[in-house]
Amino acid sequence: MVKVTPPVDLALEQLELDLFLQALRRRHEYDFSEYAPASLIRRVRQLVRDHRCASISELTARLLHEDGFEVRVVRGLSVPVSEMFRDPEVFRALRERVLPMLASYPRINVWQAGCAHGQEVYSLAIMLEEAGLYERSHIFATDFNADALERAKDGIYPARDAQLWSRNYLHAGGTQTLANYYSARYDFIRMHERLRRNITFANHNLVVDKVFCEAHLVLCRNVLIYFSNPLQNRTLGLFRDSLVRGGYLCLGLRETLDFAEVSTDFSAVDAKLRLYRRASPTHADAA
């Protein structure tokens, strides 16, 4: 049977979306207005289905009146998807080309912005450990989604993912076996407590929050793809101002700096791997 689709009223849906985003911002101080619309509307529609609402407006009403509902909304709007050593060739480049450069610093600060459930944070910790740099390193793992941060802190993942991640780890140049860094129990693996010793998990929202550390390496992968051009530009400015001169920036493999005004502040180390360095001094260096 061919589906009879009700007439599409995109203008009405857009109005409902605007009101929803306004409610989220004014009532709960989460601002999604500079998120790229095409993915955002999909996630909001998914929320409508997940919460069995009849419309976005019904979602908005619950957002305004139901205690704690915003936590579930934010969880639905952030959809953290990642894996350990995702795109192994990138982690191999970090291991072989970036870490040896960072080794010259007495203290190494790494900022992972948008750490989701922490898979890449633990990947970084393992790499620093194997490079003998972890004792003098600190990783700041931030996300705006409190729920995801808790999961990241726990470091517990489904055991079924471990096989792929172990392969990734080896392709990324791992010198041991990934199993040395977790204990498996029933259907889950738990990352070793000692990997957490130099990680700070903190809430930070790239939309509104400011520079909080001086970083030698910033990792932010597949976060900017969800941002509009102005928000992408703001965020890259934040990374630039956080990085020491010559500090490294690592983005997602399909992310492009082509349309960001601040792109001239970065020079490519490996354009294909989206690995950059902070290029020229800026006014922030005056001091």
Partner: protein, 195 residues
Amino acid sequence: MSRPEVIAPAVIAIGCSLGGLNALKTVLGGLHPDLAQAVVVCCHTAGSVDVLCRLLDSHSSLEVIEAGERHAVAGGMVHVAPGGYHLLVENDRHFALSVDEPVCFSRPSIDVMFDSVAEVYLSASIGVILTGASRDGAEGLARIRACGGIAVVQTPASAEAPAMPQAALETAGADHCLPLEEIPALLNRLCMRSP
């Protein structure tokens, strides 16, 4: 079937999976070199589409490239969704990518791409479902029709894997259902006709 107002198509969106490479060679190879429309392709691939693009490029008189994040949906070119990412089109007719959950076990998903194409281009879109082994694309094609666009489906009998065109026909129906070899000529006719 008559349409209330005839708007020249601006985009051709093509979805396929199993057997897609050969089908795409036939379709892209038969498109007119002067085609003004943008062609966007979603072929289920987890890995790099570099080789796919090069191969298709050598079979088509149109340039075939991987769709780039934030880049314009340029006419007269074929844009292929990168492996591992959903490909979407924003209202300003630029590409966006996402790593949201797979849809119909696929990322890129045809449904995701077709939905956004439908909502941006409305009746100026053509959706094409070719061979494939899943039901991805069926909902998206229905969305294209609901927004006023034209639905083209390869006859399941002519498909290497009939499941995908079959699911599309059952869910969305089609304005044109025809064998693979006849699809490029139809697309040329739909796109090149003078208003």
